[in-house]
Symmetry: C2
Subunit: 323 residues, 2 copies
């Protein structure tokens, strides 16, 4: 594999080269990891896309939203990449974004690039792979990188930590119906979009939007938020209503953060975060071998049954690792 | 130190022996750690208190609540221990619970035991110490252990993971005033108590209670919650209004969880969680020495400035650790 050649073609925005480069960074093989490191170092470092994290459970219309929102951006002359972070994809029996036909128009655009989630691995590995895929898309000159995830485990945190802004897509809730927002996700959202504000569901969407606007006001203001943010809006991806307003709110937020220095500060903090996480991952990798996992589970059973104290068990386990 | 003697005296409920035992488990000295392990193993393992986690920022009336609530429990014939988890205590210039005079009545009761937060250390260490202090209080025959924390960093998670139920204490909010609930804390609360529902603040407290009741309904139902939980209530610790109702709600919740098997299941899961956390802490302890921290910070600066890729930096750092 000619790394110089592939780096040049990625930099020129060639989608096939980009796809190949992402396959390379997704590989766990040691020789591929070396090549991936060389490739990342050979790419231009000064290109930045707007990285938009997007979370929403199945059924909220995420694909339709990405299709409509992505097409709108492309009509404005922007190049749009879509990536997925889904550590559960093989477990749940189907990768999100595995089926490009759900984004029929976008997938046929020359200025769009859509990439399904890598196959299942532990979240730390997914995070590293996705982070590197985002960097490849930036190097390939994309203006906007949408990073899609579902509400599973810690995947939102992973996506939020590699995004410049984070969207939470919700469906309208009926009167007493529980919305089912995973506890703790609201904390990450910069903008909550209540989708399906069309037809019969419109009143419910507007009411749900008002409920979330109220709930957001009960949370503490973060320094990186100008007045009025985080905000909740009602949109219809199907009828393409509210998408322009949502994009305006995003650019207003991002411009404010750039002007106030939060853009650079956040990116620097994220890079440091990923470095420290990567160090911890590498230290904790000792627990991921089959043998270590079996020993951890067996001792964990004894601890859960009350036979051994957690600290004492941990001490004997770590001493055993060193042997 | 005679471990057999101190274990017997703790088991007999002697408060001075309990205080000494907690001092022992709080110590970081290697010889003390060995003795602490012997002591924990020598204590009765079959006593369980109701462990109640309690979070609330300064100013919400936490001390007044603990005083009134604790006195109510004591009048019902229960023995009450109060512990604090506050990893920030020396940084913020004053340990919470450092001043027992804020709980004047409770601190003079023979059936109460109040223990300030251990002095500052990293959160992993605070967690281990607090967990062991809770076990000592249980072995000493206390019926209720209140574990107090403030809204700082991850301390709520730590407390929630060692509690059977988790209370969030809030003050009434004015009309447009932001309540300032740290994002993500609401997810842990079993019961939100809006304090100061007395005098001029009563209408605001009732309105705030309704706001949070609404916000809680927007969150996903957890399996360990019966219908109607998590719930929000308005109370007045000062006038002792609503405290009996709050206690009723707690016991109803706890009884339901016992009957449905969630009590044992949660305790077993918590023990396993602490075992695995303890293992990770011990592996990550390599990063806590002064030299390692300085190297991590220096390399982190380079990563933040964009000079080095996070993964590449992490790899070279971990290789350096092995040398």
């Amino acid at each position: 594999m000619d790394i110089t050649d592939i780096a040049q073609r990625v930099s020129a925005g060639e989608r096939r080269a980009l796809a190949r480069a992402i396959t390379l960074v997704e590989s766990g093989r040691a020789d591929h990891r070396v090549l991936a490191g060389q490739l990342l170092a050979a790419l231009p470092q000064d290109r930045q896309a707007l990285r938009i994290g997007l979370s929403g459970t199945p059924g909220v219309g995420k694909s339709t939203f990405i299709e409509s929102f992505g097409m709108m951006l492309i009509r404005q002359g922007l190049r749009v990449a879509v990536l997925a972070v889904d550590p559960s994809s093989s477990r749940s029996g189907g990768s999100i974004l595995g089926d490009k036909t759900r984004m029929d128009l976008l997938s046929r655009e020359a200025d769009a690039f859509i990439r399904p989630s890598p196959s299942q691995t532990h979240l730390g590995g997914v995070a590293r792979r996705s982070r590197e895929a985002v960097r490849l898309c930036e190097a390939a000159g994309f203006d906007v990188v949408l990073i899609e995830t579902v509400g599973v485990g810690q995947s939102e945190t992973v996506v939020a930590e590699m995004s410049d802004l984070f969207l939470l897509l919700l469906a309208p809730a009926g009167g007493d119906e529980l919305q089912g927002v995973k506890r703790g996700i609201m904390e990450m959202a910069d903008i909550i979009l209540v989708n399906k504000a069309d037809g019969d569901l419109k009143p419910a969407a507007v009411r749900t939007q008002a409920d979330y606007a109220g709930a957001l006001r009960l949370l503490r203001k973060r320094p990186q938020d100008p007045d009025g943010y985080p905000l909740a809006m009602a949109v219809s991806a199907l009828q393409e209503n509210g998408l322009a307003e949502a994009w305006e709110s995003m650019t207003a937020l991002v411009n404010w953060r750039r002007d106030e220095g939060f853009w650079d500060k956040t990116r620097a903090a994220q890079a440091r975060y990923w470095f420290e996480e990567d160090v911890k991952q590498r230290l904790l990798a000792q627990l991921q071998g089959a043998e270590a996992r079996a020993a951890l589970a067996a001792l964990g059973d004894k601890v859960a049954e009350g036979d051994v104290d957690p600290s004492a068990a941990a001490q004997s386990f770590v001493e055993g690792l060193g042997r």
